[in-house]
Symmetry: D2
Subunit: 314 residues, 4 copies
């Protein structure tokens, strides 16, 4: 087995960079342009608290869909598993993340799972608080504790872009209002959802979320549990079956540990009991996953023997 | 953590039996009737070779869909991962196991994955051999080695019932013939598929398949690898995302290890590096999973700390 | 062939009334309640200008979906057939009127046809005018001319109820905004659409719309054509294939002339070159058509030999 | 209005021929090749018994889907409307003719309508007779009477090609067997269906079928009714809403009379009370309709004022 060092990570970055050429930078995001195509950064934080970074690990990108796992954690803490999964399902689906057909065809009162847009909007609506502001602050405080980073910022620019380009999400939210799935107004649910997506993080921040999951709800800095570990088991299981859009099955086979990606090119990985991984690589595939980042995740799985389904490296 | 003993397993069986009342015995299977509703048996075989059984562990039932993982192993060995997944996908889908819509709507040349009927039929067509007889013998020999049981029998009665009640599977197979997915004739693919489903096994046999997966391709009796472990990683990953019909997401959350069920009420579980589990419990849910068997699987996961996504039992 | 007289119509009403018992009054509409269940009224206006009424023909109900054909006429006049059918299709579909799946699965830039909600909203967005107020006034003036009724009123109460209960239509509209189908803002399109649906009419008014279609764009009172007859051919053809929700095929067979229904229990029928029919009967089927009104339409077709597909009454 | 003469028809053929370039000859049919691309022939038979032909009217092509209306007539005669429409629906659908999804999604016991393959196979299974041979003979005799043509031949070559290329239809048939829709064996239903599709006809034969529909069940040669006219009303209504595959709505608007097409490039048109039209033009669109033939149908509608929805030619 490969030993985990920063030199190794630099080599892995170099090996994975060529895969960026098969992706496209998501130009809907403010300040995202062609110059970002070759960015690739990684941080790994072990359960023992060691941290290893390489490449463009200091580059900040918006969370986008990686926020879905934070929202799910908070909703689980606020309401417990039973109540949360009365609102959304927990089944994977092999369809695109912004599909509306499934809302109609499957069970009109439930999105398939919390990792698709409809499910995450329904989950955002659950998060407790007196106002959108208040609910976002709860989310943001929780995220700052998880990442042990008080300097995190929400990008006003990203947030405004999310709002300006929101027709499809608004369609999903109104559909869920019509079926009684949404427990708040459409505007309240979406306002919170857009803000959650707009927090800027670097690969270290993403890795800290992964490490938090890997350590069952403890940060590297504290032995205090922020959330019961059984809720994190739920989050990790759903990441495994549904975290990588309609390539989730592919990543279950090729990486073999829970991951969640965002269309900014972010990936959070969690290897239970071992380590958290954070990747940024803005060139994404048509399915929404970082192409170079995905290649890197698979290489790390192979070299560091992270595949939960395999007992050895063959 | 609960210590694994036969006494514990007997208790677990007693606790899980009441869940049988919410299921129905699949009367399409020969000799399946109401009297079987309360049958529940379990065997666990550890990677160290210890075996523990309880309940109706000597009762033989047909493999049904649990045969899908054996077929997948053989196809992977015959052709390798790349070729196999040119024929079928590896994405989960939140739809019923005999869905034909997905064949039309998604990618007409590929069933979603090898765990649904269409995918398993396409996989059966891949298995090498000069004739259906010859191909079935390869399958059967492989299964006998995995289970270390030369006494295994294919039930002629079950096989005839499969054939007699095959319209839906035939529809799936002809659809795949029309799209060029099927590499043999419809009859050849189905004949093999029906035979694969008709092998009779008891909970110990099912547990041995799970243990084979858990040990990365070795049986308890031999250190010889029958199949490279990386193929078994693939099989286990697909079991995790798609092994329990359209409750796969639910079992990923609630059991947290790879399982595959059949409508006879069989379940095979594999905890990588630790143990294999075999369950029989003929009362099944509308989605096709043993109700008492599923409850037992979840209880074992909780008590024996088998959930791969959790680092502790809380 | 039965001679058309008011006595005959009274008899036909009596024969059809029992069918109301299989329907339900749409309680989402203001002032609609159980007491309306047995209302049934009809007016027929021949191309020669004779008018025959029977039953509750003086009862006013909102247009609801019958407004879709007025909106389509206006859009055809404003933009011509080519431009209108760049925005919506002209194919029938056997699905529910408020389906959103079809928007996703078929051709994401086009609703199937102008008779389903999504299509009618897209059509409303096309109608020319500087403001919603101005566009509605154009619609309303056009409708007053067609019905030769300057006393028509839009019900503020119905309009407010439409707005309050608009989540599904808003979902459809935002979906079409996301695909670029909608040429105005969602709010502008919906505001106009809700007002169009809220004009109150009695069976005579509905019959006048039918007669206008039957006479190829002339009212009974004037030889001036308000709209070229070829546009009305288009409207009538689409009513035939798609005017009665997902019972359109049934009505093509059983009535055999173009009809359009609304969930208020209104039906407009047009027998080209012969007559227009207006029916009100608030008890509607699950598919959205007046049950007693539909029975009456079929009886009229039979007795008065209105079926365009048959050359005699056998 | 244009007077109907053979000279006019020759001119109409010339005007329509260029549309063949946008189509493709269906090479799945025996002896169909590029040289047939520019064939275009037409026959019109009026209700008064006059016959007018132009272009390649002597060219014989297989009936293909135009056989669906003959099968429907026979089933209506054998069982009556109620029984027939217990087996198939009468609703149009905007989907492809060989769609299987709709069988699953809509009402698993009923194909949408008798004009799609699944519906026509279910209808074929209804036709009375002791054997496939006997049932085909009933069909063939009926067709010979309708066309007044005892020389009609079934092409053994076309029939064998249908059988050899039958996977999709077999998939549809087995699906319907699995839902209990099919009242015979799959083989019996398909054998009859393939033969029905394989009868060779020229434009005069096709026109005679149209004239038979237009005259309400009488042939030009006889005043004897072969089938009650109300059954033909049903057939014509279903042709209007569903006869031209998923361009049926387009033809309702642009031609405005009942038509049925086949992928051999055949079209049967029926203008109730006036005339029948038969067209052959083997270059077909992706939706399955003759491109030049379709252009000709629309031109005839315009010039000869055949649109049932319009009272004048403007």
């Amino acid at each position: 087995m490969q030993k985990l060092t920063e030199e190794y990570l630099e080599d892995a970055i170099e090996d994975s960079k060529p895969y960026a050429s098969s992706g496209q930078v998501n130009m809907d995001l403010p300040n995202f342009d062609e110059t970002m195509k070759d960015l690739l950064g990684v941080t790994i934080i072990t359960n023992e608290g060691e941290s290893f970074s390489a490449g463009d690990h200091n580059h900040y990108i918006p969370m986008q869909s990686t926020s879905k796992i934070i929202g799910l954690m908070l909703a689980l803490q606020d309401f417990g598993k039973d109540r949360v999964f009365q609102t959304v399902g927990m089944e994977p689906m092999g369809d695109f993340f912004n599909s509306i057909s499934q809302l109609e065809s499957y069970d009109t009162s439930k999105p398939f799972n919390p990792m698709i847009n409809a499910g995450a909007i329904a989950i955002a609506a659950l998060i407790k608080g007196k106002s959108v502001e208040n609910r976002f602050n709860r989310y943001f405080d929780f995220l700052k504790k998880i990442t042990n980073n008080n300097e995190l910022q929400m990008s006003e620019e990203v947030y405004q872009a999310e709002r300006a380009n929101s027709a499809r999400n608004r369609s999903l939210a109104y559909f869920m209002q019509s079926t009684g799935t949404l427990v708040t107004s459409v505007d309240d649910a979406l306002e919170l959802y857009f803000r959650m997506n707009s927090v800027m993080m670097c690969s270290e921040d993403f890795a800290r979320v992964g490490a938090f999951l890997a350590r069952g709800g403890m940060t590297s800095e504290s032995e205090e549990r922020l959330i019961p570990p059984h809720h994190l088991r739920t989050v990790k299981a759903i990441m495994m079956t549904s975290g990588m859009y309609n390539s989730s099955g592919h990543y279950a086979v090729e990486a073999g540990f829970p991951c969640k990606s965002g269309v900014s090119g972010s990936i959070i990985g969690a290897i239970p009991g071992r380590m958290g991984v954070g990747v940024i690589g803005p060139a994404i595939s048509p399915k929404g996953n970082s192409t170079a980042g995905g290649a890197l995740i698979k290489k790390l799985s192979q070299d560091l023997e992270l595949n939960m389904f395999g007992i050895e490296n063959t």
